[in-house]
Amino acid sequence: MTKEAIIEELRTIVKPYIQNEEGFKNLNENTDFINDLEINSANLVDIILDVEDEFKIEIDNDSMEKMLSVKATIEVIQTKMNA
């Protein structure tokens, strides 16, 4: 899956949790879930679980630890999908 396709999919996943519309409009590879989208940390787990469901992958704790940004999330998804 290309980076662009993953970003599109992530846009749909994060939408219900975002609190910063401006950050969401500009969502790109460098977007940080908490600093840019103001997603509440209590909802981070929902994003992780949604990513698992959508991409049909299993995310281990070490990978989850890094998933605070679009970039890190893309890396985890690509690694798991190619595994």
Binding site: N40, S41, A42, L44, V45, I48, N61, E65, L68
Partner: protein, 185 residues
């Protein structure tokens, strides 16, 4: 280390915006011991959010000194001494927590040291939490609240300054739903 962290949970908001019974929700964030304790509790919903706020408050305390960010809630293991007092262990570091409850929210403060050091905290509307903090800080330091300026550390922890003078040794701000809370020392 005088660091201090806090976390507020709007209980109504937690009920509508999160689903703790969702598959994977407990497994990803809580240790086996915590999961057992939650599921055997009389009020599993409250236990979930009590543990979550303890972990989050401890994380916010920890990241002020290490300046790195990560999402590893399972690595912060909670245990309770009483309804309000608890401990969170992360590796070889222990954090001591105090939680206050009412029907609308729960609020946890985490410190590294058990000793009582002077700290100030407040709970109010999510929208005014920063103004509330500045007013409290102004009252303590004697500077004008309008002249107090917030700056963020590299991990996003807030610090408050009056011109070049740092007014807070450690500070933590938390938002959830309608509520905002702060703690500083």
């Amino acid at each position: 280390m005088h660091n201090i962290g806090n976390d507020i949970v709007d209980l109504k908001f937690a009920e509508t915006e999160s689903n703790w019974q969702r598959k994977g929700f407990l497994e990803k964030q809580f240790t086996q011991k915590e999961q057992d304790e939650i599921l055997n509790s009389e009020h599993p919903f409250l236990k979930v959010w009590l543990f979550w706020s303890m972990k989050e408050a401890a994380y916010k305390c920890y990241t002020q000194s290490v300046e790195k960010r990560f999402f590893a809630p399972q690595k912060f293991e909670c245990s309770l001494f009483s309804k309000e007092e608890g401990r969170v262990v992360y590796g070889d570091i222990k954090f001591y927590t105090t939680t206050s409850f009412n029907t609308f929210y729960l609020h946890t403060i985490a410190k590294v040291s058990k000793e009582v050091s002077t700290c100030f905290s407040g709970i109010g509307s999510s929208k005014t939490v920063q103004i509330d903090l500045k007013i409290k800080l102004a009252a303590i330091t004697g500077v004008l609240s309008e002249e107090i300026e917030k700056r963020k550390t590299s991990v996003g922890a807030p610090l408050f300054y009056h011109q070049q003078k740092l007014l807070t040794k450690s500070c933590s701000i938390s938002h959830h739903g309608n509520y905002g809370a702060f703690v500083f020392t």
